[in-house]
Symmetry: C2
Subunit: 177 residues, 2 copies
């Protein structure tokens, strides 16, 4: 596997602003390079994540794509794709195979109404349990499994704020440059 | 560890309905018995989760508590508590110790503005990375680590709908009783 990207399908600006923000932040924290989203255009979402990256470091980006389907079709020349869905085959049974691919990986998360075509276009349909929970938790647990917990070691370059892990309260190191 | 419970502090009905729903569903899917929440009363949240439980099985419950602080003080006679916060000590360094306790465990998640007292009252302040992401992903990854991935094996009694894991599309078994 080279690099990991996330595609959030069917973002709805009114209903999903916080959930899509959480998806993007989880994507970044658990090792993705970039999040693409389809559905409603949402400059506020892009702006919010850009601010988080300025403060917390790294080069994570968020980008709107007009058509998830066109994007996914183009993606096929670049790498593989995993659609996370509670209806898919267990992550436990597929993760090793997915970890072995030597191309970029696109992880696709949707909301409740995912178009049927997506199930056909993705290389894998994978479940993080077959119970309903959240695209945020599905993505994070899948990336945690895929990267074998390496998110705990990531350093984000150029961070203005660095947390100093603490048993009580909040300790941060802030760059004032 | 006996049983796992979740306390969601500072729920805001207008701003958080979907995030708190996702926290509750993740709590259920990853092995908690019950979620308590403080902040705004929200019968719709309770109702929504109750419907999910009717469909998907098990006995997970959601309950409002007027004061998280009073609740947490009372909890001390019943078990231990872990506050999930990006400012805490790494889950990697604490999870084994937490797994060994032989009492009920309360996992506390908050939003952005968590009262300082909570950091003092919780038995542990634990981080799932020191990066910002989401209470949904923090809770799910922490429970995944704590239960060593056992969420993939859980069966939920009395489910009306059971997913049949599938490489393409949605296959479910529905009880019509």
């Amino acid at each position: 596997m080279k690099h990991i990207f996330v595609l959030r399908v069917g973002h709805r600006k009114r209903r999903d602003p916080r959930v899509s923000t959480h998806v993007a932040l989880a994507a970044r924290a658990f090792g993705a390079e970039e999040m693409f989203f389809s559905g409603d255009k949402d400059p506020e979402l892009v702006e919010k994540i850009s601010k988080a990256v300025t403060n917390w470091g790294g080069e994570f980006k968020v980008q709107y794509v007009r058509s998830w389907k066109a994007f996914l079709n183009t993606w096929k020349s670049r790498g593989k794709s995993v659609h996370l869905t509670m209806y898919g085959v267990s992550a436990c049974d597929t993760i090793e195979e997915i970890r072995l691919i030597d191309r970029d990986l696109l992880i696709i998360v949707g909301g409740q109404k995912v178009p049927r075509e997506l199930y056909d276009l993705a290389d894998w349909n994978v479940s993080v349990t077959n119970q309903p929970h959240s695209e945020v938790s599905a993505l994070a647990v899948f990336l945690h499994m895929l990267n074998e917990g390496k998110e705990f070691e990531y350093k984000f370059k150029g961070a203005k704020i660095i947390v100093l892990p603490s048993a009580r309260g909040k300790k941060v190191m802030e760059s004032v440059l």
